[in-house]
């Protein structure tokens, strides 16, 4: 085990996988000499050279498309988006090309590509640089959607993503890069997709969350425990594929579920999970499934206002108590 930051963990896995497999390369804006604006590629240029660590023009449609081409020809590109918000520029490449090619060519062409980058609040980056866009990619079949919430999760899930033969949208969170945690030193350490992580076991309510809200939920769990309220916290890790089994089992036990995400509440992934719970565990519910998500409002530049839009840590306890009919 080593203590690493989230960004270090990501950089190390990229380097390890590039060492092991010549087909793996990385490209993106300012990733070579600059090492990426969040240092996730720092030092890679020196070790692997400019053929495998490539700066790109400011054209997401262009270089994501190049990634799809490279992947279809046998390489394993890691494409870094400086902000995941910029994926909008490459939507056709991602959802119409990468997501569909393997299917439409009868399985003869694979797209082993990772599109990774950061998103979310925390730096006052305003409306076009602070969104949480993962829900958009869940709707179209063909891409996997990954949400690491700690350094070790980032390491284990990124390795699985790079080795996956399908396009993976790998959503990092900008406010997690500096967080530290233990990461296994094993260069084969990986976390399978579709296996949720039970962060904390509890019996009274299930809180399903990812990214920043995992730690926030843990903080609230301690406060709630003092009031004899024992919550279970589950991080789905990957939204596509989704580990329905673990969540349904938990809700059958607790009878209450709260989904917390930074993405907008309306049509966010919390709605998908809430609906699934009602379809499969309706008779086990003692209260409506609650969702906490960002207000239907563009993320503001002002940091104070930014916080006013997304769910706050205390909102988790309020929601838990609401499902328990405790005021």
């Amino acid at each position: 085990m080593s203590i690493k930051t989230y960004s270090q963990a990501i950089k190390d896995v990229i380097a390890e996988e590039m060492r092991k497999d010549d087909a793996v390369f990385i490209m993106g804006e300012d990733i070579a000499e600059a090492g990426g604006i969040f240092t996730c590629t720092k030092g890679l240029l020196k070790e692997f050279g400019s053929e495998r660590v490539r700066n790109t023009p400011i054209s997401e449609a262009g270089f994501v498309g190049a990634g799809v081409g490279a992947a279809s020809c046998g390489l394993r590109p890691i494409v870094e988006l400086m902000y995941m918000d910029f994926a909008y520029l490459a939507m056709d490449q991602i959802l119409n090309q990468a997501a569909k090619i393997r299917y439409m060519f009868g399985g003869n062409v694979k797209i082993p590509m990772v599109i990774r980058g950061q998103q979310g609040i925390g730096r006052g980056n305003a409306g076009q640089h602070s969104q949480s866009v993962e829900s958009l990619f869940m709707h179209i079949p063909g891409v996997k959607v990954v949400m690491p919430s700690s350094p070790s999760e980032a390491a284990g899930l990124l390795r699985t993503a790079i080795r996956d033969d399908n396009p993976v949208m790998f959503f990092e969170h900008k406010a997690l890069y500096a967080t530290k945690g233990e990461v296994p030193d094993d260069p084969e350490y990986s976390i399978p997709f579709g296996k949720a992580n039970i962060i904390r076991e509890g019996k009274d309510a299930t809180v399903i969350c990812s990214h920043l809200y995992v730690q926030k939920a843990l903080n609230e769990a301690e406060k709630l425990a003092k009031k004899n309220i024992d919550i279970e916290i589950i991080d789905p890790r990957t939204l596509i594929p989704f580990d329905k089994t673990t969540i349904i089992k938990s809700v059958k036990k607790t009878g209450r579920a709260i989904i917390v995400h930074e993405a907008h509440k309306i049509a966010g992934w919390g709605a998908e999970i809430a609906a699934t719970i009602m379809e499969e565990a309706f008779e086990y519910l003692d209260a409506p499934v609650l969702r906490l998500g960002a207000k239907h409002c563009t993320l503001p530049f002002n940091l104070g206002l930014e916080n006013a839009v997304v769910p706050q840590q205390e909102d988790i306890s309020k929601a838990v108590k609401k499902t328990l009919y405790i005021s």
Partner: protein
């Protein structure tokens, strides 16, 4: 190949049956002819046998559900069989031919409702209540607007109130008893019998290793008395009274959640030992729920014996379409006057309920007197 498990039609009146117990789990191997499910109709409980080999692939209906005759209850087959077409068998598709067309959930239908007809309870609390057979209609909910929530279903409720499903055998008994009370002019006669002769008869047979019950003896005695007094053995049908010159004598057997009245047919032609063998077999079948339709059909008269509960005497309600029923109390030693002497004798009190629309007091009394005579005959009476 998929073999469907079908709700069978047992008797003309049967329109639906309730599933009381699945004897197999999904995935279990099933052999042709093996009992796979227990059902209860409004008359009887019975087991359904598998009509093919394979695995139990699917339970389309669960325990507690009521299913119309000829509907598919479950599926037997191989793992490779495609059973997707059975995934959503719409309940509205069922076409039972009579008034009982609605398939209802046992528990839900028997659950009392408040005056608005709607109880607000969370799904979890409802499941908990139903699983524990807790009647939740009177619980005060502490959720918003009185919503009953999980914590309101407390363990202390477990023993204070519970409910039983009111359908199947129980419902049929209720309907028949009400029909009887509302239609028949029920009148009562009582008579005390010196049981000495009958006790002696039983004891002497016991010495020859023949075990007969008091019930068997009264079936024999009544069969004789009924043929001599056929009005007691009759049925009112529209503008005529049908007198029956044979004695099909039913006797009440208590079972969980109800009672059965299996019938010893043509008791007048049977020896006491034959009656005894038949009644033992019927009692066994009643207790394990395997009585067939024929076993409780066409009774002409009924005996109910609660002597084992130490009752002095009791009255019974006539079992339609019969016209009389005999209730037998316990045998108790009593002080009686015989030939102006004070004696102690084993006495049982019989109470006859008869339909005064067609049976007057005198013939009913004559019948009872004849039963008394036959019972008290030193030689073992009619036997």
């Amino acid at each position: 190949m998929i073999t469907e498990i079908i709700m069978p039609k047992q008797g003309l009146q049967m329109t639906e049956g309730a599933i009381t117990k699945w004897l197999k789990n999904v995935g279990d191997d099933v052999k042709n002819g093996e009992a796979i499910i227990e059902i209860e109709t409004d008359k009887a409980a019975l087991e359904i046998e598998a009509q093919g080999d394979g695995k139990l692939l699917k339970k389309i209906h669960d325990e507690g559900e009521t299913v119309a005759v000829s509907k598919v209850i479950g599926l037997i087959g191989a793992d490779t069989d495609d059973i997707s077409k059975y995934d959503t068998e719409p309940i509205s598709e069922s076409k039972p031919d009579t008034k009982n067309a609605v398939i209802e959930n046992t528990l839900k239908s028997s659950m009392p409702q408040n005056s608005n007809g709607r109880i607000f309870i969370t799904p979890r609390a409802k499941k908990l209540a139903i699983d524990n057979k807790i009647n939740f209609s009177n619980i005060t909910g502490t959720g918003p607007n009185g919503l009953i929530i999980e914590k309101n279903i407390t363990p202390s409720l477990l023993n204070k109130e519970s409910f039983l499903a009111f359908k199947g055998i129980r419902k049929t008994i209720a309907e028949r008893m009400i029909e009887s009370q509302n239609t028949y002019a029920q009148a009562y006669h009582k008579i005390s019998i010196n049981m000495n002769s009958i006790i002696n008869l039983r004891e002497s047979l016991k010495k020859s290793n023949i075990n007969i019950s008091y019930n068997d003896i009264f079936i024999k005695i009544c069969s004789k008395a009924l043929l001599e007094n056929p009005i007691l053995n009759s049925t009112l049908e529209n503008d005529r009274i049908i007198l029956k010159h044979y004695a099909n004598i039913g006797f009440a057997v208590a079972v969980d959640n109800g009672l059965f009245v299996p019938v010893v047919h043509n008791a007048e032609t049977l020896s006491l030992e034959e009656i005894s063998n038949k009644s033992k077999n019927l009692i066994k079948k009643a207790r394990n729920g395997s009585l067939g339709i024929a076993d409780f059909s066409s009774g002409t008269f009924t005996i109910s014996n609660l002597g084992m509960y130490d009752l002095d005497e009791f009255t019974a309600i006539i079992n339609p379409p019969q016209s009389a029923i005999l209730a037998i109390g316990a045998i108790k030693k009593q002080v009686v006057a015989i030939n102006d002497e004070v004696c102690i004798r084993p006495i049982a009190t019989l109470c006859l309920t008869y339909d005064h629309r067609i049976i007057d007091g005198a013939p009913a009394a004559a019948f009872l007197k004849r039963v008394k005579e036959l019972s008290e005959m030193k030689t073992g009476g009619a036997l």
